[in-house]
């Protein structure tokens, strides 16, 4: 056997043996044992083989050395690759064991909700804020002057019958406002500056009435626009824009003459029934229309009352005109959400309130 032949045989045998052992190593410890067996500094099989080169000639030694170094590189990289594979397999196994039942219910963070009347009120506020209005907050406890007299309802006016009033026992002379229209008067008296007004006044109002469609307390939004050259056409355009923003552009809006003591002309605003689409149903009492807003041009008598109280003419009916309007927030919420009993709004029953989350 020539030395070279002999070396080649030994290399082949060693590689064969390495192949078998590497194949069989299925843990990182076994892999380390294979590494020690073939590449260990002291007793490694390849290390031994390298030691046996000492007997060769210089030229033979050089050729054999190159061959064995290449073999060493090959074994090392195969050990490395096997190590990586083993690690990946073991991590995959570990993660597989961490599988959870993803169909179990999640932990819902606590979540409350705004009251439906707040939802509707803020929406209305936002529509008018977008048209340049301010939101005015007037008092709920009023006196006769602001609630009635300044609104062209002198004592014993028949229109007062429509609004049965709560009076305070003490302090005397005070009452709970029956409508947010009192906010008009408050604002004009408190802002006797250039008569340019654009406001809405949302808030609670009170009437002595309690049944499925009436609560002794409910919520209204009053609106007031005053300025030079304000017309009934402006009233129409503004309220159409408002109703279309609130309910969508598909519902017709109609304006018909009516009566309120503090507006002249007075206008009732109807919206095509959002429940039946105008065909006629229980909610619209078969008419196809929902009474949704009361409105009108500010009666000059109201300006006169304000001027009288101010002691000078600030709101001169010859220079300015205006329109006012009012709507019930419950009414809109009832129509929109299909609420049939107004009292549900004020009972705090979570079965009701949670539907508006």
């Amino acid at each position: 056997m020539t030395p070279s032949g002999s070396l080649a045989e030994r290399v082949a045998a060693l590689r064969g043996e390495f192949d078998r052992e590497l194949e069989g190593a299925d843990t990182s410890a076994a892999l380390q044992a294979v590494r020690d067996r073939f590449l260990g500094r002291k007793a490694g099989a390849l290390t031994d083989l390298m030691g046996s080169l000492r007997t060769l000639s210089v030229d033979e030694k050089k050729a054999a050395g190159q061959q064995l170094n290449a073999l060493k590189g090959e074994l090392e990289s195969r050990l490395e690759a096997k190590g990586t594979a083993l690690e990946e397999a073991s991590r995959a196994l570990r993660l597989a064991g961490q599988r959870i039942d993803v169909t179990l219910p999640g932990r819902l963070p606590a979540q409350g909700g705004r009251h439906p009347l707040t939802i509707v009120r803020e929406e209305i506020e936002d529509i008018f804020l977008g048209m340049g209005y301010l939101v005015y907050d007037g008092p709920e406890v009023e006196d006769d002057y602001h609630c009635f007299e300044a609104l062209n309802m002198p004592p014993e006016h028949p229109a007062r019958d429509m609004q049965d009033t709560f009076y305070l026992a003490q302090p005397a002379g005070l009452l709970l406002r029956t409508h947010t229209s009192s906010g008009q008067i408050r604002y004009m008296l408190d802002n006797p500056r250039p008569p340019e007004v654009r406001l809405i006044c949302p808030g609670r109002v009170y009437r002595r009435d309690d049944d499925i469609t009436h609560s002794p307390m409910f919520n209204q939004i009053e609106g007031l626009v005053v300025g030079p050259g304000i017309t009934l056409g402006d009233l129409k355009g503004t309220l159409e824009a408002f109703l279309h923003a609130l309910f969508g552009p598909d519902y017709p809006v109609r304006f018909r003459p009516s009566f309120f003591p503090y507006t002249e002309p007075s206008v009732e605003v109807d919206l095509g029934c959002v429940v039946c689409g105008g065909k006629g149903c229980r909610v619209c009492k078969g008419t196809g229309w929902l009474e949704i807003l009361g409105s009108g041009m500010v009666d000059p008598a109201v300006f006169a009352q304000v001027n009288k109280r101010l002691g000078r003419v600030v709101y001169d009916p010859e220079q300015v005109s205006g329109f006012a309007f009012g709507t019930g927030i419950e009414r809109i919420a009832m129509v929109r959400y299909g609420v049939e009993d107004i009292r549900l709004f004020f009972q705090g029953d979570l079965r009701f309130l949670e539907q508006f989350r």
Partner: protein, 669 residues
């Protein structure tokens, strides 16, 4: 107001279907409430607004119809033949109270009592009036047709044939036609004989002069009454009649002769009798007709659309206005609601058609913004909703509580006799009870609203926030048990709420309040002021509600918080050097509030101590019973450099020394 269609058609031609007629009347201001059929007759039910007494009769509605369709109005037939001796020989009338009764008209008639004909009875039934006898039915028929209420006296039962119109005297009584014997309030208008009242002016006749089967001669009365006087008496006596309804809304002051003529005509027509010659017409206060000047262009300027002058004139003429030239119009007597230019504008507008006015939107004059308080309220709602609370709205009315709550003079229901002075009591607790009754155990509610307090001659309104928790704040989940709300849930939310409201930090101090757990109650402070309270509902009250867990409640005066300037927001430079955190456990007898310990630590920590907080609280083995270990976490930081270990050590030693000096034990020493 019910209007039989055939009756309407006697006075005006109607070419359209009833449904269309209803729509057209609605758009002119007489809202149709319904169209009924009544024994083959179509009856319109109209909602007539309180100002339009002129349309509370068939003729008034017919006049509207004639203007709507541009067709002529047919006046009712007023012709009749007088018979017998002069009326004035049988009846005299004197008005003593001219302010009560500006004008009183009467006619004397010889009658044959009996039922009225079927057609008249049917029409009365169609409009909701009960037929009684031919004479009484005639007065009602003419009231429905022309709007003038009238009354028939049995002339034989008017002592001396003399009527006096005056105010009732103290203690006078009258038995009215409904059989009630009434004491008349002072100032009540009456039609009286020389001795006693015979009828309540403008409201109801009296029993003593009532017509009956034996009646042969009647005095038909038609008068105009002061609306306010009728209204007062009607309210005082609780009597609301077809007559008072019209008089208190200011009926036509000049229609009385026509009404009596119509009665005479129909009396003859139905063969029930004839009238004697002469109208008795006593005028106590002459009426001045109303003339209104309408400036050119004013109608167009207010409506926002041009209405041609000839169209304006046609509308007004059709409604009975008379052109007085130079833009002035004489207002018909039946339109007591029209006295100003603006009223005329309305008349033109409603008949020109509101639908024909083009819609415009006035140009915005500025940006619409919420006030600071309004923005804060919205922000607060958003935060509270995110923290799991549901908003509720309670009635602002609460049970009376003398000295505390502002009382109502005329409450509607028991338990609603006053204005609320807080949101938790009773509103939120009532809402809790509602939910508990439904078997609901986990409740978290808030309300934002005003509370009321007497303030001298006025009432002060303050915005409050009320909070309530009961049951689980962390609901049961497959991974954990439910955790019920406790004091500290409330405390955390109150802090968050104050911040969300822009009020900066709040602090808490143990307190005592009625209805709260004596050991679990604090006052909430901001800027040195008490702005609210927080605590656990007294267990006795919770038990009364049937609640076994704690009910945590809190109330904040947002009005006060809103008045505070708040911290404002300026960004602080980011820390460039690392902080050092050291923990320290202090063992106490359990009576020392954590706040006190933290106060000592903050004082002793020196300028490098940035923050100190409670990191843990422990009691139990190996600590002796009654001892509590509080672990405080101290964070040190210098703005311009990295801290050295021994600097922090020295600060910690100072803190430890101060705590020991205060009698506390440091754990692990």
């Amino acid at each position: 107001m019910k209007v039989p269609l055939s009756w309407l058609k006697e006075l005006v031609d109607v070419a359209v279907e009833p449904a269309r007629l209803g729509d057209d009347l609605t758009m002119a201001g007489l809202a149709i409430e319904g169209i009924e059929t009544h024994g083959g007759e179509t009856v319109l039910d109209l909602d007539v607004t309180t100002n339009r007494v002129d349309c509370m009769n068939v003729l008034g509605v017919a006049r509207e119809v004639s203007v709507i369709y541009g067709v002529p109005l047919r006046a009712p037939d007023l012709s009749f033949t007088e018979k017998g001796g002069p009326a004035a020989d049988a009846l005299t009338v004197a008005i003593e109270a001219g302010e009560l009764c500006p004008r009183f008209c009467a006619r004397v008639a010889d009658v044959a009592m009996g039922p009225s004909p079927a057609w008249m009875r049917e029409r009365l039934e169609q409009v909701g009036v009960r037929p009684i006898s031919n004479v009484v039915d005639l007065t009602n028929y003419v009231m429905i047709e022309l709007g003038q209420p009238s009354h028939a006296f049995d002339l034989a039962r008017i002592p001396g044939g003399a009527l006096v119109v005056r105010l009732a005297r103290e203690g006078e009584r009258l038995t009215t036609l409904d059989g009630n014997d009434r004491v008349l309030p002072a100032g009540t208008g009456v039609v009286a004989s020389a001795q006693a009242p015979l009828a309540l002016a403008g409201i109801m006749g009296g029993a003593s002069s009532e017509v009956g089967d034996a009646t042969t001669t009647v005095a038909f009365e038609a008068a105009h009454w002061n609306p306010l006087r009728i209204r007062r008496v009607s309210k005082a006596l609780g009597m609301h009649t077809e007559a008072s309804h019209r008089f208190e809304r200011q009926s036509d002051p000049e229609v009385m002769p026509a009404a009596l003529a119509r009665i005479a005509h129909l009396l003859e027509k139905i063969g029930a009798g004839t009238v004697r010659p002469g109208l008795i017409d006593v005028v106590a206060q002459a009426r001045t007709p109303v003339r209104v000047a309408v400036r050119p262009g004013r109608v167009d300027a207010l409506l926002g659309t041009p209405v041609p002058p000839e169209r304006q004139a046609a509308i007004l003429t059709g409604l009975g206005f008379a052109d007085a030239g130079a833009g002035a119009w004489d207002v018909p007597s039946w339109r007591g609601d029209v006295s100003r230019e603006i009223d005329v504008v309305e008349e033109v507008g409603r008949h020109h058609g509101l639908g024909r006015i083009p819609s415009t939107v006035p140009a915005a004059r500025g940006v619409g913004t919420l006030a600071r308080f309004q923005r804060r309220e919205r922000e607060l709602r958003t935060v509270l909703v995110g923290l799991g609370l549901t908003e509720t709205i309670s009635l602002s009315l609460a049970p009376e509580s003398p000295g505390a709550r502002v009382p109502l003079q005329n409450p509607l229901a028991g338990g609603q006799g006053a204005l609320r002075d807080g949101l938790v009591f009773p509103g939120l607790l009532d809402a809790l009870a509602v939910n508990l009754r439904q078997g609901r155990r986990d409740v978290a509610l808030f309300e934002l609203g005003k509370v009321f307090a007497a303030d001298g001659a006025g009432v002060r309104e303050t915005s409050h926030l009320g909070l309530l928790w009961c049951g689980a704040v962390e609901p049961a989940h497959w991974s954990r048990k439910a955790r019920p709300a406790d004091f500290f849930d409330g405390k955390g939310v109150v802090e968050r709420a104050a911040t969300a409201f822009g009020a900066g930090e709040v602090s808490f101090a143990a307190s005592a309040r009625p209805d709260l757990h004596p050991g679990r109650c604090v006052d909430v402070y901001a800027d040195g002021l008490i702005v609210g309270w927080l605590g656990v509902l007294h267990p006795d009250r919770a038990e009364a509600l049937g609640v076994r867990t704690e009910v945590v409640i809190a109330e904040l005066a947002l009005g006060m918080l809103g008045a505070l300037p708040g911290p404002g927001l300026r960004v602080r430079a980011l820390d460039r050097f690392p902080a050092v955190v050291r923990d320290l456990s202090v063992i106490t007898d359990g009576q020392v509030p954590a706040d006190v310990l933290l106060g000592v630590v903050r004082q002793a920590g020196g300028p490098l101590l940035r923050d100190a907080a409670v990191a843990d609280r422990y009691e139990g083995a190996p600590l002796p019973a009654g001892r509590v270990s509080l672990t405080l976490s101290l964070r040190f930081q210098a703005p311009e450099r990295t801290l050295l270990g021994d600097e922090v050590d020295r600060a910690m030693q100072d803190v430890g020394a101060r705590l020991r000096a205060a009698g506390h034990e440091i754990r692990g020493e």
